[in-house]
């Protein structure tokens, strides 16, 4: 556990270990049903020490007890640009999410651009978001890397400050990635394939050199090596695609190159539910309140409900906004999906445990279980209701917000 306390005063005030008492506790385990009148204990290492009904889990003396109507695991934003796309929206100052100098740049690292002190990180943290999957935005064929980080980390002083330093590589298929070249969808896919074929050849050379001391390994190449990591499934390729034909292109690429695919955005995924399900890939759905323009003109607020019904794993994202609001809030998006047919527990799961599963972090975050990180969000009502306030936020067993926002 790497604790960098953003607020020294808060840290000092919260030295006691925290116990959370909730009228309704969504542990996000098993059948996802909440436990009534429950207690969570956080240990000194920032992990969950015990979870259960108040009748079974006694609060030891000396613990600081926080009470809430509802508590959930810390909210996870499965795809954001927060920390790169800053509050001021000022190019060259706080807009680090997209470099358009080349169409394919998998070597751009999120860790080299992340500003954990941007006010929007605090904005999300105060609302209960404890972990973000953030990095390069959609907008070019391959815009760069993403990382997973807790929202209490102000600076990336070492890779250990992240949960995953390179969690995915961001790709976009669709009109947003078109410019002078690639200027058409066909050209875009041709360029991606050509680059991945280069990476295939490189992978063979690297593997051959490993087995045969006579053969020389190729010189390091951060761009191609990042693509080799996709081919070896070390890093998933997160493809933002909205039109059904672009989603189909993503599926074809995966078929050809055999990488781990995370489908992102996917506004028209409802047209290809069978194909997506058969491919066994997860979807990080566009914000429910995203705008119905361009490739998203046929988006539906029922997409999450349809994916749920089809049994396709999915999570919510705040996404990337070029203007206002500069960041969305992932559980607000989940709430709106719940208004359009998604069951409440499934909506919460899609910004907690199911997001953690898609990110490969379900052993650490996303549910309230003994031994997992003590990340919690406390509310004075249904977390999906707009009128509900986030009263407290806990990361790694430390109180990081009590702003009742």
């Amino acid at each position: 556990m790497f604790k960098t306390f953003l607020f020294l005063a808060l840290a000092a005030a919260s030295q006691a270990q925290i116990a959370v008492k909730a009228d309704l506790l969504f542990t996000m385990t098993g059948d996802l049903k909440p436990i009534k009148n429950a207690v969570v204990l956080c240990n000194a290492e920032g992990l969950i020490e015990a979870v259960g009904p108040a009748s079974e889990v006694k609060i030891p003396e000396g613990y600081q007890t926080l009470s809430a109507k509802v508590a959930t695991p810390g909210i996870i934003d499965a795809h954001a640009t927060v920390g790169l796309s800053g509050i001021l929206n000022s190019p060259k100052h706080d807009q680090e999410q997209l470099d358009k100098s080349a169409p394919i740049q998998p070597e751009l690292r999120a860790v080299d651009a992340y500003n954990g002190r941007d006010p929007l990180v605090k904005w999300l943290r105060d609302l209960g978001v404890t972990t973000v999957h953030t990095g390069h935005a959609p907008g070019t064929l391959i815009s760069g890397q993403l990382m997973v980080v807790k929202t209490n980390v102000p600076s990336i002083t070492s890779m250990k400050d992240t949960l995953i330093p390179t969690s995915a590589i961001a790709s976009t298929i669709g009109s947003k990635a078109l410019s002078k070249s690639p200027g058409t969808r066909s050209k875009a896919i041709a360029m991606l394939r050509a680059e991945l074929i280069k990476a295939q050849a490189r992978r063979l050379k690297i593997e051959a050199a490993k087995d045969d001391p006579e053969k020389e390994a190729p010189d390091a190449n951060i761009k191609l090596d990042a693509l080799v990591d996709i081919l070896t499934k070390k890093t998933p390729l997160l493809i933002n695609a909205h039109r059904h034909q672009d989603i189909a292109s993503a599926l074809r690429l995966r078929e050809e190159f055999g990488f781990d695919l995370i489908l992102d955005g996917a506004a028209e995924a409802y047209l290809l539910l069978d194909e997506i399900k058969a491919a066994k890939i997860p979807v990080i759905v566009h914000p429910t309140m995203g705008r119905p323009f361009g490739d998203m003109e046929n988006m539906t607020f029922t997409l999450a409900a349809q994916l749920h019904k089809a049994g396709i794993p999915f999570a919510f994202q705040s996404g990337y906004e070029t203007y206002v609001p500069k960041t969305r809030v992932v559980h607000f998006e989940a709430g709106m999906a719940a208004a359009y047919g998604l069951p409440q527990e499934a909506a919460l799961a899609a910004c907690t445990i199911n997001a953690a599963k898609i990110l490969g972090l379900a052993d650490k975050i996303g549910s309230l279980e003994k031994g997992k990180h003590a990340d919690l969000a406390l509310f004075d009502g249904d977390p999906l209701e707009t009128t509900t306030h986030t009263t407290h936020v806990i990361i790694d067993g430390e109180l990081v917000s009590s702003s009742a926002k």
């Binding site: 509050i87 006010p119 309140m289 960041t327 969305r328 209701e385 009128t387």
Partner: protein, 442 residues
Amino acid sequence: MRPRKLLALAIAPLIALPVIFSSAQDTPEADPPVAIRAFTNATIYPVSSPRIEGGTLVVQGDTILAVGPAGQVEIPDGAERIDASGKTIIPGLICTHSHIGQVAGGDSSSPIQPEVRVLDSVDVRDTSIDKARAGGVTTVNLMSGSGHLLSGQTIYLKLRKGNTIDDLSIKLPDGSLAYGVKMANGTNSIRDNGPFPGTRGKSAALVRQKFIDAQAYLKKRNEVDPEKPFERDLALETLADILEGKRTVHHHTHRHDDILTVLRLKEEFGFKVILHHVSEAWKVADEIAAAKVPCSIIFLDSPGGKLEARDFEWRNGAELEKRGVLTAFHTDDPINDSRWFLRNAAVGVRAGMSREKALEALTLAGAKMLDLEESIGSLDAGKQADFVVLSGDPFSIYTRVLETHIEGQQVFDLDDPTDRLFAEGGYGAGHNREASGCCFYR
């Protein structure tokens, strides 16, 4: 199947005509009986009075006949009774600041273009209008953008089903159309190239000079012999109307200093002005209250996105309410989708507004800002029958708009497949309501 439905919808406004003109004719015995409908057992928020449980709303033609608790409202014989048990009825939502209908205002030729009318640009068949109806929006102030100090004349519309802008527009007693004028200050209207201003000081100077010119024009207009020809100037004429209080200025403004600049202009020229967006209202709420200027505010899910919105706060609504400032919400669609307009009331309550004022900010407050409170904005006998049927509590995220009615005509029905497509989205929702034999393979 679908074309026939559309044909029925297109005819609907024509059917309403005898009702509209009935009061103007001296032959009441020749009028067909006007249909009366009674929605019963509903939770009703008249907005002008407290919530009614188990309430009845009686609509006759395009007008509200009565609203009240079950025992206190007489339902005329022959009225169609509609059981609205479990449902909630609120007034039609009024959006004081919207850009639906593909509106456009001034071009890049000058920063002040009062002669430009958005009414000459509105596409009444655009999907954004269908979507607004699906959000329960019944009246809008359609505005051009904020890239000019003055980008043109706005247009107030009722979102009736119609073929042309005339079917949607609102006629004032003097026969003119209801509209205001869009102005802006701050960074949006500042550009690098002339004749646009490069600074805030220059912005204010350009506007002041133009209104001073309009003062002279107005003086001339008032002095001229009505028998003699008068050389009209479309731009100054519009500004003169503002100076005379005939038209309201809808002023985009974000930062505290820009807000105060608007208040100074109002003080100097004495015009009627509504502050729009007002991101930093919380910083100068006392000054806004003292100037008695209403605010049409926006809620966003985060601050920032532009320098001027860095200090935007959700508590704007509560701070203005505390000081008695007339406050409405707006969508600024496409900034916020009209289908989420109702959600603003919940954000307002979350940040400290009372439920009453939050609901008023979606309805009656907007009506007042558009000078239409005599006919719309609340559910009161004699007002136009603009109302929304909801599935539940207006402050809950789980609540859906089921029906939207304008002047007694239903303009949105969630059970209708085409209406539902626009309400929820889906394949084809990005394109206009289709003509026959067209367009998408769903």
